[in-house]
């Protein structure tokens, strides 16, 4: 008596209509995925905008195609076998244990494909590591949760930088120039990534890594810290801005210009005092002077873990703040800038944050309660693990009129 035979007949059947339906659904979903990418996603890795990312793109496209074809073949063969060899009451098949020749052939075939992929891979690895052709060197330092850029004095492409430039969030580079980033970190590991221009490179404390950057044309290319770095990892963003040599010269000139003090008696002048009293402990504004003429020197290492806070000398020349997370531009102006034609981009960008394009809400909220917008420590009352230092900006309990004064002052920092 063969009980297993019974179970075969009761369990082994599945309505063929359901199987057809499921196969159709599978095909549809694959089709949807291939056709279903968003247009114009700013961090699309298949939209390279520079020499280095194009090298990666050229390498990875065929790999994706081969991978897709291999997957489709395997799924196709499995599907065909399921249909062809389903139990239709045929005999128990011959108990064959394999076919070594076929096996060896099917082992060598993928080996050849992979060998074919590995050669250009190794070549590209070394090309992307090249440092000798650098035309501009910029130091990039990650810390919780923002990026600092420190431009080495000397030649940057066709432009000469003769005073140190320290800025944050937005990396401004000349177009068509081989920029070499020297990347490190002041606290935990971060990773610098501008998908349109190159792959990512970790910023590791105690180590210095290099990353090539080159943009073919003017524009703004967004990015994100991609190594998990704690509470506000998702709010540690960045962008690279490429400008023509002429526009880059203008940007550099503006960065190096002398401090513009607000008009005496204005709201902004009151803001300067508020800034000096509350913010200058951590935030540097170049050439800012105390009432007695001595320089205002920020000493953030006394207050925050990484020992620095963003330099705000030219805050209004950047389009976002606080780890490039919150916009200084209104949505309308931001979309216009992001979608600007390369020829128009430079002029629009160099205007900075004009009063009609200034998005006040986020900045005001930020000044009112920074940790509320961007979590920086779990318990502000328990800073014992950090020796009393903050990680990020604490709530300074600024009054509404102080915030008004500060905003008026900061608007002049362009």
């Amino acid at each position: 008596m063969d009980r297993s035979k019974e179970t075969v007949s009761t369990l082994g059947r599945m309505p063929s209509t359901r199987r057809h339906w499921s196969r159709a659904a599978l095909l549809t979903s694959v089709g949807l995925m291939l056709a279903g990418c968003a247009n114009n996603a700013p961090q699309d890795i298949f939209e390279p905008k520079g020499e280095n990312s194009k090298k990666i793109d050229t390498l990875q496209r065929p790999v994706f195609y081969i991978a897709g074809v291999v997957a489709l073949i395997v799924i196709g063969v499995v599907g065909y076998a399921m249909w062809k060899f389903k139990d239709r009451g045929q005999d128990i098949p011959e108990q064959t244990h394999g076919n070594p020749k076929l096996e060896i052939a099917l082992t060598i075939l993928p080996a050849i494909i992979l060998a074919g992929i590995s050669v250009p891979t190794v070549i590209t690895v070394f090309q992307l590591d090249k440092k000798t052709d650098a035309e501009c060197i910029i130091n990039v330092t990650g810390q919780q949760w923002w990026w600092e850029y420190d431009y080495a004095t000397g030649q940057c492409g066709d432009v000469k930088i003769d005073k140190p430039i320290v800025t944050a969030g937005e990396l401004v580079i000349p177009e068509k120039t081989n920029v070499l980033l020297r990347i490190t970190s002041r606290d935990v590991i971060h990773s610098y990534w501008i998908p349109a221009l190159n792959g990512k490179r970790d910023a590791v404390p105690g180590r210095l890594h290099t990353l090539r950057m080159q943009a073919d044309q003017p524009g703004i290319y967004t990015g994100q810290c991609t190594e998990f770095c704690g509470l506000s990892h998702s709010r540690m963003r960045q962008a690279a801005v490429a400008l023509t040599a002429g526009d880059f010269q203008k940007w550099v000139d503006n960065q190096m210009k002398d401090y513009v003090a607000p008009e005496a008696g204005s709201l902004a002048a009151e803001g300067e005092a508020v800034f000096t009293a509350n913010c200058s402990k951590c935030h540097q504004i170049n050439d800012l002077k105390n009432a007695d003429g001595s320089p205002v020197l920020s000493e953030p290492d006394l207050y925050v873990v990484p020992g620095v806070a963003p330099n705000l000398s030219h805050l209004m020349n950047r389009t976002a703040f606080a780890g490039w997370t919150f916009d200084l531009l209104t949505d309308e102006c931001r979309v216009k800038l992001w979608n600007a034609k390369p020829a128009d981009f430079g002029a629009m960008y160099l205007k900075g944050i004009t009063p009609e394009c200034f998005e006040q809400v986020a900045l005001r909220d930020w000044l009112r309660n920074p940790p509320g917008m961007k979590p920086m420590f779990v318990d502000p009352n328990n800073l014992s693990s950090t020796g009393g230092k903050y990680r990020g900006m604490p709530n300074l309990n600024l009054k509404p009129d102080q915030i008004d004064q500060l905003i008026a002052y900061l608007l002049g920092r362009n």
Partner: protein, 670 residues
């Protein structure tokens, strides 16, 4: 000598070979006796039976699967909309850390251990594993380690550094809660379980195979488990060292990863991934083994290229040690290392491809019977292939610098782990349930279970390929609206699809849980050999008797059981395979030649006591070292108890006392 159980029907004198006399202390030393319960809760608490331990491993792993699943659903709820607020950043970081930790260490690994524990001795024709008490110790360490780890949720928050726990973000300065301490110590405890389990199963496979069973006649599941045990044996010490370093840094002021003291944070990454990459194969190979049993059974033909499958599994085990740095292509290793590891990573795709080819060719020319177990096994081929080829896209190191830490990677490894490992385990549930419990899981519910999970996996993880390639990074509590792109199929849309998909998977798992209860309460008894199976575990009763086999089967061929049932006969149409014996007849033949003396290990009090001491020590490390002292005292007591208890329960402990060659059934004492 005490005998736990002996077949009542057989006169003791029939046994052809007398058991060799073993010199053991037959007298209990002082208070250290052995428990003898064979029923009730004590029989589970003190058991050393590999089958009971296997079931307990499975039940606890399933519980942690549900915990990790709920964590996953919360993550997908948070990511269903831009700038969402279901979870705070702190909760989110804990959630994804614990989701990964739970799924890897508390579900997939112990679930594979459950199957290995239960079926490895049965598949090689052994009565138990080589070291039964060590086996029990492993289970209790896993359970207590897992509970300890999860107790952090109630004691100030779970670990928040990601399962990879990169230094220096894992130092006390950046993660001041005790979460990471719980994580480190919890994994140390479960790590001991893996390590001793590995030793135990290696010794079992090498020494306790049934007469006639050569290594190349072992079922593929046993082979893959053996490879995994070697991986564990060499990988667990590495993570143990890394965890000790981190533990000493967090709890005792050491500076192994402190940059200000001259440390290089990449040290942790190397240690973690030298463990972490073999870990990937530790996770996947048992499922490869399971489907290598299921596919031949339901295709009615032997596994295509058995030797190739075995050797490719072993090759994966070797090459798996040479690819760890592909997790670090963006870490700044320098071009030479990156190039070498990139090519090595492509190399490992070859043995993996061999397996896919062999499974597909096993189907080819077969007589396919689409049970739920078979559907899951085929699901593994399909989904693992997708995960495998997307893996090749990031073996190409320059492309990986674009893809790493994006959702493309999340898509890849979930296709591999959920589509490969987890679906393989589900195949095992449906295939082996009748063997373990004597009842069949409902096939109707099973089909629902399968299709919901299959479509759920594709709905959840398919869109993640797109999300990642369009620039959505991992481990971010929020994703901003302004980076989602334009058009109907923007990233907002795909995130929502993924979230819906995760609940479809959840529904599938729910149906599985319902199926378990339905089967438990309602299902009729299963036939002895419901699948017309091929390997030794089906040669015994369902569920197997405590001693597994009345007579240890002698093995003549790969797929021994199949060849006992089927013979090639000449017919008018040429040679045909004909069923000459039913499973019942094969079993009856075995039972009629039952061994007279069957020696089974006695239960023991000490594994559970010893393992209970370790969480106490660990709580002490976190809160108060006095507690550790108490824990250590318990540990020492357990070690002494372990050493001093007799190797078997004294005959006089049984009621009525077992005398000489009587054929009494096992009696329970308290």
């Amino acid at each position: 000598m005490a005998i736990i159980e002996r077949p009542a029907a057989v006169p003791a004198t029939v046994g052809s070979v007398a058991a060799p006399e073993v010199v053991t202390p037959t007298q209990a030393l002082g208070v250290f006796r052995r428990p003898v319960s064979s029923s009730g809760w004590k029989s589970w608490l003190f058991t050393v039976d590999h089958k009971k331990l296997g079931i307990m491993y499975g039940a606890v792993a399933l519980f942690f699967f549900l915990v990790g699943g709920v964590e996953a659903l919360l993550i997908r709820l948070q990511l269903a909309a831009p700038d969402n607020t279901v979870l705070s950043a702190d909760q989110y970081n804990q959630m994804f850390t614990m989701h990964a930790t739970t799924m890897v260490f508390l579900f997939v690994m112990p679930m594979a251990a459950a199957f290995a524990n239960y079926f490895l001795p049965l598949q090689i024709g052994a009565r138990d594993v080589a070291f039964p008490r060590i086996n029990a110790l492993g289970f209790w360490l896993f359970l207590f380690g897992g509970l300890f780890l999860n107790s952090s949720w109630l004691l100030g928050g779970a670990a928040d550094g990601g399962w990879f726990m990169y230094s220096p973000n894992s130092s006390a300065l950046f993660s001041p809660s005790h979460g990471i301490d719980f994580w480190v110590l919890g994994l140390q405890i479960t790590g001991i379980a893996s390590l001793i389990g590995a030793l135990n199963l290696i010794v079992t496979v090498l020494n306790m195979r049934a007469p006639g069973m050569k290594l190349m006649q072992m079922p593929v599941f046993t082979w893959m488990v053996l490879v995994v045990q070697f991986l564990l044996l060499f990988a667990m010490p590495v993570i143990t060292v890394a965890l000790f370093l981190l533990s000493f840094q967090r709890n005792f002021g050491a500076t192994f990863f402190d940059v200000n003291q001259g440390a290089d944070p990449l040290l942790w990454q190397h240690l973690f991934w030298i463990f972490g990459h073999p870990e990937v194969y530790i996770i996947i190979l048992p499922s490869f083994g399971i489907i290598s049993e299921v596919l031949p059974t339901f295709a009615r033909k032997p596994l295509f290229g058995y030797k190739f499958v075995v050797f490719s599994g072993a090759a994966i085990g070797f090459v798996g040690w040479g690819v760890w740095a592909h997790h670090m292509f963006a870490s700044g290793l320098g071009p030479v290392s990156v190039a070498v590891f990139s090519v090595a990573t492509m190399l490992i795709a070859i043995p993996t491809g061999v397996k896919i080819v062999n499974w597909t060719l096993t189907l080819w020319g077969g007589k396919l019977w689409f049970t739920t177990a078979m559907l899951y096994a085929i699901g593994v081929i399909v989904l693992f292939t997708i995960g495998g080829v997307s893996g090749v896209t990031h073996a190409v190191a320059p492309s990986d610098t674009q893809q790493t830490d994006t959702y493309h990677i999340v898509a890849h490894f979930h296709y591999v782990i959920v589509g490969g490992a987890v679906m393989g385990l589900f195949s095992g549930f449906y295939y082996w349930w009748p063997k373990m419990f004597g009842k069949m899981l409902s096939e109707r519910l099973g089909k629902w279970n399968f299709w919901l999970m299959f479509f759920g996996v594709n709905l959840t993880f398919g869109p993640m390929h797109i999300l990642g390639l369009q620039g959505q990074p991992r481990r971010m509590v929020v994703w901003p609206e302004k980076l989602t792109g334009d058009g109907f199929f923007d990233m907002h849309f795909w995130n929502q699809v993924a979230s819906v998909g995760s609940f479809v998977i959840g529904l599938g798992v729910l149906i599985f849980v319902i199926n378990i209860f339905w089967t438990w309460k309602k299902a009729p008894l299963a036939p002895l050999d419901p699948w017309d199976a091929r390997t030794l575990e089906w040669i015994t009763a369902s569920p197997p008797k405590e001693h597994n086999f009345d007579r240890i089967p002698t093995v003549h061929a790969l797929d021994e059981f199949f060849h006992r049932k089927y013979e090639e006969m000449d017919t008018e149409d040429g040679p045909r395979l004909v069923k000459v014996k039913s499973a019942e007849e094969v079993l009856a033949e075995e039972e009629s030649h039952a061994d007279a003396h069957i020696h089974l290990p006695s239960p023991s009090y000490w594994p559970i006591v010893l393992s209970a001491a370790l969480p106490i020590i660990a709580y002490g490390v976190i809160y108060n070292l006095m507690l550790s002292v108490i824990g250590t005292a318990i540990l020492l007591l357990a070690v002494f108890g372990w050493c001093l208890e007799p190797s078997v329960a004294d005959d006089s402990d049984y009621d009525p006392p077992a005398g000489g060659d009587s054929t009494k059934e096992l009696a329970t004492l308290g």
